[in-house]
Symmetry: C2
Subunit: 118 residues, 2 copies
């Protein structure tokens, strides 16, 4: 994964409606959701939703697949995992990440509070 696609993915997620849509798709799992269902659930006009979905697709975060008249979108989990890996790559310069540094990807629970770092 190169910087360019990573930036596109992050930019795609950095928007209220797209983040919400992406999360709905994550929760929907492999079955995905139709564009219209997303549009209606989120209260976003169809043309706007389409614009947002194309950003997500362009960033490879979601896949699309026609099913009759609908177009079903689904989250690409591999892309998300690659994104996370990219951002924490070579964490702490190779020094083993201890709980002390806090640099333990995915080890910390979301709310672990760590205040002062030397």
């Amino acid at each position: 994964m190169d910087a360019e696609i990573v930036i596109r993915a992050l930019a795609a997620l950095a928007q209220e409606h797209r983040l919400a849509a992406y999360r709905l798709l994550v929760q929907a799992g492999p079955e995905g959701m139709a564009a219209g269902a997303l549009s209606e659930t989120l209260g976003v006009p169809a043309s706007s939703m389409s614009f947002h979905l194309s950003q997500l697709a362009n960033a490879r975060l979601v896949q699309q697949q026609r099913q009759s008249r609908s177009i079903i979108y689904s989250a690409d989990f591999a892309a998300m995992n690659a994104l996370m890996a990219y951002m924490t790559e070579n964490c702490c310069g190779g020094v083993p990440c201890t709980a002390d540094t806090g640099c333990t990807p995915a080890a910390a629970s979301p709310s672990s509070a760590r205040k002062d770092v030397a």
Copy 2:
């Protein structure tokens, strides 16, 4: 972590220079790097770098701390972990995530062996 701060964090990372700066800070570990060092390493004017660093700080992705004339920035790993957790929350609607669905958050661990994580 609420949607608002998540979007700010994603937007902060969705920019060439800021993503590069953040990655340098991740690699630098708890010791961090001075604003000037980041500016010079990335070939970005000081005023621009300052603008970008304030975006990262505003999103709580980095911390800053004055050390004599320099201001040392360092990555906040807890914030990054929270970010990832938010995006994969309630993945597949609670159905156990198998390798088949690909929906296994944090399956890729950058540099350290993962002990058993719940």
